[in-house]
C-alpha cells in the first residue's frame, strides 16, 4: 500500500494521523483482511518519521483489534467481526452526515459555516464526554 506523507503541523499527533490513514485504508478496501503492513523500520524510513510514531500507531491499532502484531513477522490486518461492524457503523454515520450536509447546503449555508457549526458542537459536547 502507498502511504501518504503525514502533515507535521496539522495539530494532530503523527501516530494518530497514521492510525487514521491505516483505518481509512481498511475501510476503503485498500487493505484487506490478512494483508501485511511494512515493518516498523521500513514504514518509519518510508514516511521519514520516528520509529516510535509507527510503533505507537501499530500498538494502538492492535488495541482496537484492527491489527495483529506477531513477534518477528510483522503486522497483519485483522478485520474481525467487531471491527467490521464498527466500520459499518462509521459508514452509516457518514451517510447520515452527508445527507445533513447536503440539506444544509440546500438551505444556503456555506461550507465554512457548516464546518464551524460542526466544530462548535463537537467542542461543546467534548469536555463532558471525555471525562
Amino acid at each position: 500500500m502507498i502511504f501518504p506523507k503525514l502533515a507535521s503541523t496539522s495539530g494532530a499527533p503523527l501516530y494518530l494521523q497514521l492510525m487514521q490513514r491505516i483505518r481509512h485504508a481498511a475501510e476503503s478496501g485498500a487493505l484487506q483482511d490478512g494483508d501485511q503492513l511494512p515493518s516498523i523500520r521500513a514504514l518509519a524510513e518510508e514516511l521519514v518519521v520516528s520509529p516510535n510514531t509507527v510503533a505507537k500507531a501499530y500498538s494502538e491499532l492492535e488495541h482496537e483489534g484492527l491489527l495483529d502484531l506477531r513477534q518477528g513477522s510483522g503486522a497483519f490486518v485483522t478485520l474481525s467481526r467487531r471491527a467490521r461492524s464498527f466500520m459499518d457503523h462509521v459508514d452509516r454515520a457518514r451517510e447520515r452526515v452527508s445527507e445533513l450536509v447536503d440539506a444544509l447546503r440546500a438551505e444556503g449555508l456555506r461550507d465554512d459555516e457548516i464546518r464551524r457549526v460542526f466544530e462548535a458542537e463537537l467542542l461543546r459536547a467534548a469536555p463532558a464526554r471525555k471525562r
Binding site: 516498523i40 524510513e45 521519514v48 520516528s50 516510535n52 469536555p127
Partner: protein, 302 residues
C-alpha cells in the same frame, strides 16, 4: 538498549570568564528516542554537547551520559566508546582521501560495520579517492555522518548535521537518523532547521541563553499548543486572560490573539463569556512554539 536515560544533567553550567555559556541546565533525554535540541546561535547547544562528551569541563553541576558520569575520566572514555558524535565543524584531516579517512577511523572502533559503510558510500555518492580538503561542504558533512553512522552506537549525538546539505542530502540524513533509531540507538541532534526536527523528533528541547525553556514531546505540542484568534465587538485591551495554559496575549484593535500551551476549552469558554464575536482555534507548528517561547522568555532571562 538500556533503561537508563541517554542523557541527564542537573544544574550543569559553564562560564568563560564572565560569559555564562550554559546556566544551570537540567536536561533529561530518554533512551530509544529521537530528541531535537533547538536554540538560537550562542544559546549554549554546542557547549552543552561538548560537556557531555568530556571535551569541555563544566564550571558547576552534574551530568551523566548512558548512566556514566561525564566528569570522571575513566567513565568519560567509556561514554565516547558508546557514543557516536558528529561535530559542528565536521573536523577531518584535509590531506587524507575519503578512503583513507574511513580506514583510519575504522581502526579506532570495535563496532565498525563494513557493510554499512558500503551502503552509505553508495547512498551519499562519495568519491573514495578525493582528498578531504577538496570536498564541498555538503560532502564533508556526508563523510562525517558516514563515520558516525558506520558504528553501532548506543547514542548518536549530532551538532547541526544538516548544515551544507542540499534537499536530497537532508532527506537522506533524516532517513539515516530514523533507520539508526529503529535499531535502538538514541539520537540527540541540534539543528536550526525546525522543519527537520518537527518531522522526525519524538521530543524537543529548546535552550535560550544557556537555560532550558521547553522540554516537550512533539505529540504534546501537536495536541495542546494552539493559536486562538478572537474578535470582540469592542477593544479587548482590558480583558483578563490570565488563565492556565496562556503563554502570551497580543491585542490589536478589536482582535486578540492568544498563544496557548493547553486548556483550549477553558480559554474558548472565557472568550465566549466576554462575548467574542469570532473564535478561531488553529494548531501551531514547532516554529511558532520556538519563536513564541524564545521571544517571550528571552527578555525575562537577562
Amino acid at each position: 538498549m538500556s533503561d537508563c536515560p541517554a542523557i541527564e544533567t542537573i544544574g550543569l553550567s559553564k562560564s568563560y570568564g564572565r560569559m555564562e555559556a550554559v546556566r544551570d541546565l537540567t536536561l533529561f533525554v530518554g533512551s530509544n528516542c529521537l530528541t531535537g535540541f533547538l536554540g538560537r546561535n550562542g544559546a549554549g547547544k554546542s557547549t552543552t554537547i561538548k560537556m557531555l562528551l568530556g571535551m569541555v569541563r563544566p564550571t558547576a553541576g552534574y551530568g551523566k551520559v548512558l548512566g556514566r558520569r561525564i566528569d570522571d575520566p575513566a567513565e568519560s572514555v567509556e561514554i565516547r566508546r558508546q557514543v557516536a558524535y558528529v561535530s559542528e565543524d565536521k573536523r577531518l584531516y584535509g590531506y587524507m582521501t575519503v578512503e583513507q579517512t574511513i580506514r583510519f577511523t575504522s581502526s579506532f572502533y570495535a563496532d565498525w560495520r563494513t557493510d554499512r559503510v558500503a551502503a552509505l558510500l553508495r547512498k551519499f555518492e562519495l568519491p573514495l579517492d578525493r582528498k578531504v580538503k577538496s570536498l564541498s561542504k555538503g560532502m564533508r558533512t556526508k563523510l562525517a555522518l558516514l563515520l558516525a553512522l558506520a558504528r553501532r552506537p548506543k547514542l548518536l549525538i549530532l551538532d547541526e548535521p544538516s548544515e551544507g546539505l542540499d534537499p536530497i542530502g537532508v532527506e537522506q540524513l533524516l532517513e539515516c537518523l530514523v533507520a539508526q533509531s529503529s535499531e535502538g540507538t538514541s539520537v540527540f541532534f541540534s539543528s536550526h532547521q525546525i522543519e527537520e526536527v518537527e518531522r522526525i523528533a519524538d521530543r524537543v528541547c529548546i535552550v535560550e541563553r544557556g537555560r532550558l525553556l521547553v522540554d516537550l514531546s512533539m505529540d504534546e505540542i501537536r495536541q495542546s499548543y494552539r493559536q486562538i484568534d478572537l474578535v470582540f465587538p469592542f477593544e479587548p485591551r482590558e480583558l483578563e486572560f490570565n488563565l492556565m495554559g496562556v503563554e502570551s496575549v497580543r491585542t490589536e484593535g478589536c482582535q486578540l490573539r492568544v498563544f496557548s500551551s493547553g486548556n483550549t476549552d477553558g480559554i474558548v469558554e472565557r472568550a465566549r463569556a466576554y462575548h467574542a464575536s469570532s473564535i478561531e482555534v488553529a494548531p501551531v507548528g514547532l516554529r511558532e512554539v520556538f519563536l513564541g517561547t524564545v521571544r517571550e522568555k528571552s527578555d525575562a532571562l537577562v
